[in-house]
């Protein structure tokens, strides 16, 4: 269990167990992949908010040969695209039996990373109906 204080400029890619959603205060556009300015209107007035971590599976695959660059290589892994309730799309790990269209919620896998810092990976598990 990872319990650290969430800071609004760090997410799972930098060691915080959270998915951050960016929101433009100028045009209200929302996005996932971190940027310092809004890709819709160009405004630098961007706030990040922690996502609840719940959403719906849009697409799912099971990779049988994990790519170089993965933080671990546990054999076949499920990968999903998930539309979060906040309205942004996120890629994460999932169980191989994941069903497209089903509700999911995120947990974070802890993997040994480079240097002393463990790496986190978002894992979407079935959330039930």
């Amino acid at each position: 269990m990872v319990t650290t204080t969430v800071t609004p400029d760090r997410d799972w890619t930098t060691g915080e167990p959270v998915i951050l959603v960016s929101r433009c205060r100028s045009c209200a556009h929302r996005w996932y992949i971190s940027r310092d300015a809004c890709p819709a209107c160009g405004s630098p007035d961007v706030v990040t908010v922690p996502a609840a971590g719940t959403g719906q599976v849009v697409a799912h695959t099971t990779v049988h040969r994990v790519a170089a660059g993965a933080v671990d290589e546990p054999g076949p892994v499920g990968i999903a695209l998930v539309d979060l309730d906040e309205g942004v799309r996120v890629m994460g790990r999932c169980a191989p039996e994941t069903v497209v269209g089903s509700p999911v919620r995120v947990v974070f896998l802890i993997r040994p990373g480079e240097s002393d810092q463990p790496a986190l990976l978002p894992f979407f598990e079935a959330a039930g109906p």
């Binding site: 996005w31 992949i33 049988h64 660059g69 890629m91």
Partner: protein, 377 residues
């Protein structure tokens, strides 16, 4: 407006020995000879990136090797769309009078030259280094995600895509340069090993060694030359996580090309569509409008993409069976359509009169789109 004068396409496959530059030289010399030109006639050189080479200045490298001293030279990188993007630039250069005879080239030893690992590193850039790559996904996985969403949306089983692979193989059987020529069935596709579910090995193109080239002129030099009637592009995202699956860019790109050519899809006689995976081909055909939503596989099964079908498609076998030598792979579709429009495709020649072809390529994960409408002289 520009004219494609000479074309060159080497055989594709696992063909160890030649370097990336060697493949480029072979294709370039073939295209120049086909155009009836020598290297001294060329004043523009555009060369696509090669993952096994990773050179800063690929056009200068090739020009020096052949002995060309062009006015204009540059390398280009927009993934699988690079070849058609270079055609767009060549056309713009000759139209503007910046160059008169532009040589466009690509080639690499992608199958045999990977010991350098440059290739794998370059291809990994298709994924986001922080938000996608650490999860363990690779290029087939990104396309598998597209396939998963596509099949779900249309209520189809994975086997629905298999007839596209079967048709590409049937076409490749008639091309001596193709990497894979032994016919396959839907059952063969379905029993091939899973690469990234729902995509199986025969849903995926191979990697190949080979090269392709063409020469673009401002004015036609003979009745064999094929007119670049219109081109379009669209670049809406880089990473699959940010893709709008309902609007990937293919429709916008194709509509712009058709509008500039002053024609509609009804005027298109045959097509060369990028087919890195079966799902790539299905999604592009459907977004462009050459197939109804969810029906590309069924159309292939019904023979509509055959040489004798309603819209002959990738008559050389496409990336899936002719092979995929990087940028040259996407240029092979263009070379084949030029051969067809000239009536020089031999035993692959579409039996009815063909006047207009649409060629489309995508780079990344449906990230970069370029379309061209070609017209016989």
């Amino acid at each position: 407006m520009g004219w494609i004068s000479g074309v060159g396409l080497t055989s594709f496959g696992r063909q160890p020995g030649p370097s990336a530059l060697d493949w480029q030289v072979r294709a370039a010399r073939t295209a120049l000879a086909d155009a009836g030109l020598t290297h001294r006639d060329v004043d523009g050189v555009l060369v696509g990136y090669a993952t096994t080479l990773g050179h800063l200045m690929p056009a200068n490298l090739l020009a020096e090797r052949i002995g060309i001293r062009p006015r204009i030279a540059f390398g280009t990188s927009v993934g699988g769309a690079t070849g058609l993007a270079m055609l767009n630039q060549a056309e713009a250069l000759v139209t503007a009078g910046e160059a008169a005879r532009v040589l466009v080239v690509a080639g690499e030893d992608r199958a045999s030259g990977q010991s350098t690992d440059t290739s794998m590193r370059t291809l990994a850039q298709v994924g986001h280094p922080a938000y996608e790559v650490p999860l363990g996904a690779n290029v087939p996985a990104y396309y598998a995600l597209l396939a998963s969403a596509y099949l779900h949306r249309h209520g189809l089983a994975p086997a629905a895509l298999a007839p596209l692979a079967v048709q590409m193989r049937a076409h490749a059987a008639a091309h001596a340069g193709a990497q894979f020529r032994v016919p396959i069935s839907v059952a063969d596709v379905e029993s091939s090993k899973l690469v990234a579910a729902p995509l199986r090995l025969l849903d995926c193109c191979p990697v190949s060694d080979g090269g392709a080239a063409f020469v673009v002129l401002a004015e036609p030099s003979s009745s064999r030359d094929v007119r670049v009637a219109g081109m379009g592009q669209a670049h809406l995202h880089q990473h699959v996580t940010e893709a709008d699956l309902e609007d990937l860019g293919a429709r916008r790109s194709a509509q712009e090309a058709l509008r500039r050519a002053g024609v509609t899809l009804d005027d298109i006689d045959l097509a060369g569509i990028y087919d890195s995976f079966t799902v790539t081909l299905a999604m592009l055909l459907e977004e462009i409008g050459l197939a109804a939503p969810g029906k590309a596989g069924a159309m292939a099964a019904a023979g509509e993409f055959d040489r004798t079908g309603r819209i002959p498609l990738n008559t050389h076998g496409g990336l899936l069976s002719y092979g995929h030598a990087g940028v040259a792979g996407g240029m092979a579709h263009l070379v084949e359509m030029v051969m067809q429009l000239r009536g020089e495709a031999g035993e692959r020649q579409v039996p009815r009169q063909v006047r207009r072809a649409l060629v489309h390529a995508d780079g990344g994960v449906m990230s970069a789109h370029v379309t061209v409408v070609l017209e016989a002289a």
